[in-house]
Symmetry: C2
Subunit: 109 residues, 2 copies
Amino acid sequence: MVHTLVPSDRVETAAVYGRDGQKIGTIERLMLGKLDGTVAYAVVRCRGLLETHHYPVPWSLLKYNVARHAYEADITLDQLRSGPSELDGETFDWGDRSPAYRHPQYWTV
Amino acid sequence: MVHTLVPSDRVETAAVYGRDGQKIGTIERLMLGKLDGTVAYAVVRCRGLLETHHYPVPWSLLKYNVARHAYEADITLDQLRSGPSELDGETFDWGDRSPAYRHPQYWTV
């Protein structure tokens, strides 16, 4: 039997790979719509040499690869870098509901 | 500005109170639909004197009370007890997608 549900705490520690096979980072949390009960986007932590970025990735772009035990995102790290991110310690309005965060088109994939 | 999004890791530690004001327990995880990106239900841990139960509570029944820093469920502990639960350590198919788990009507509220 194939399960169609996944526990949130399992998602939160999962690795994310980009469309080009490069590792993007790990999911650190999901942002949920309080009213409609949907996953708006995942916050993906990406460690760099000097700083750590936190990128919003729409749930619809994430597909779980069972064999790999990781998510594959239909986006690349370069594309994420061209979008919004939060540097460690910076304030950032993760609760923002603007269309840019809700729709994958934002990244002009 | 009122945020309409909430981080999953904040939800996971929140307390849940029943319709009658009695504390039901705390949310330990959310079960998410892999494909549609919706929160199917929250798993609420309820410690008893002898054993701990884990009850599925539909997201639509949970409302966050900002002043209380907790969720209020439109259901009572007695109603949850009459529904499905998992005892600590027991196997239980949390990935079950049967209608009973998806629809609040299950509890004949």
